[in-house]
Amino acid sequence: MNLMDSTHSNPMSLCSQADSQRTLYPYVTGTSVIGVKYKDGILMAADMGGSYGSTLRYKSVERMKPIGKHSLLGASGEISDFQEILRYLDELILYDNMWDDGNSLGPKEVHSYLTRVMYNRRNKFNPLWNSLVLGGVKNGQKYLGTVSMIGVHFEDNHVATGFGNHLARPILRDEWHEDLSFEDGVKLLEKCMRVLLYRDRSAVNKLQIAKITEEGVTISQPYSLKTFWGFSAFQNPTVGAEGSW
């Protein structure tokens, strides 16, 4: 079962009648999003790249946005579909506020709504080409979940989309623990983001880390990570094996 973004997969085309508009393949895409639960809430990280095929076209795309008072949404995949999802959620939150009843949608509810939206679109063969990470805190309860473009959804203590599934989750499985401090959480996310920077072709060295706690959402200013190239083996790798890598 394919759980991650397929930026190069074939269009799912079993229906052959004329369609008005449907997403066949993505154009401008974002890569991995990683989320972890920590002591005070959720920490999420995503780089700011919007790739256009193999071109790193846009380098200041914000792929994490606050939703209402209690949630934070991070998205990978087609950016235009993410922007559409933000419009849907905006309307959802607006209607929720109009009740003016003191209640507000928490992360669990927003995640459930997103799951329905993604799954129903998938059933019509017109998916929103995203993998989403939804994190939040309400009444002291931390919540972290994910939804894919085909409607696969679950919650966990740490989640990742795209390449993050392969490169970040093994690190998180080893090093995540309950009640991480903010500092440890940031360092853990940065460790994962650095590996992604080395090994994911669509990664861009400009990222943001967002946190959500009972108090609210904070998204950091964009910054870059240092990378290490000082292994002696990197200097002259083909000495003694001319013609190899």
């Binding site: 193999s54 790193l56 060295n205 910054y223 013609g243």
Partner: protein, 231 residues
């Protein structure tokens, strides 16, 4: 992740002649689909003491072509009794590429120095065409450099000017081509011999929308006040 995708060096490769020799440059990224299989590859390969080749496209194809040519050139040098010329090396590469054009997917740049013609660059793209040029760019990253070189290349540069140009160009391509990245390697060939240089990723200039690298967000937060976080 398609682990059965062939290893390609998306790549940016460059060869530039200058007043006295040539400078060859390349990035160091080899990918299997979207995964970076090797982030510090060496794409500038030796054919003889005085001729080197920049490889792009399929990693396997470019390696086998350069292995064959190195083998032929070795025999040729013994028969000739003196170092092979750059032109001969380039034409051997062309023969292999052209005669196997249906099976190969590799773009190559041959550069070197010999006593008859001095520094020379030959481009051998897909299909096996051979083109002698004062400078050449190749690989997927090269698409971002045509405009740059149209403006920045000048006849009669010094060795240092040429190398700086190559490093700047590969760095610009790396900034925009997802298939290029890592470190920049350069090889300078002239009458005095061959010099290899290494420019790690973190020493390269920053371009538009790129930021100076930090050790961690924690340092950013602690160094500046007021709090640089925004809603």
């Amino acid at each position: 992740m398609d682990l059965n995708a062939p290893h390609t060096m998306g790549t940016t490769i460059i060869g530039v002649t200058y007043n006295g020799g040539v400078v060859l440059g390349a990035d160091s990224r080899t990918s299997t689909g979207m995964y970076v299989a090797n982030r510090a590859s060496d794409k500038i390969t030796q054919l003889t003491d005085n001729v080197y080749i920049c490889r792009s496209g399929s990693a396997a194809d470019s390696q086998i072509v350069s292995d064959y040519v190195r083998y032929f050139l070795h025999q040729h040098t013994i028969q000739l009794g003196q170092p092979a010329t750059v032109k001969v090396a380039a034409n051997l590469v062309r023969l292999v590429s052209y005669n196997n054009k249906n099976m190969l997917e590799t773009g190559l740049i041959v550069g070197g120095w010999d006593k008859y013609e001095g520094g020379k660059i030959y481009a051998i793209p897909l299909g096996g065409t051979i083109i002698e040029q004062p400078f050449a760019v190749g690989g997927s990253g090269s698409t971002y450099l045509y405009g740059f070189f149209d403006q920045a290349w000048k006849e009669g540069m010094t060795k240092d000017e040429a190398e700086q140009l190559v490093v700047k160009a590969v760095s610009l391509a790396i900034a925009r081509d997802g298939a290029s990245g890592g470190v920049i390697r350069t090889v300078i060939i002239n009458s005095e011999g061959v010099t290899r240089n290494f420019y790690p990723g973190d020493s390269l200039p920053l371009w538009h929308e790129e930021l100076p690298p930090q050790n961690s967000l924690l340092e950013v937060l602690h160094s500046s006040s007021p709090e640089p976080m925004n809603m």
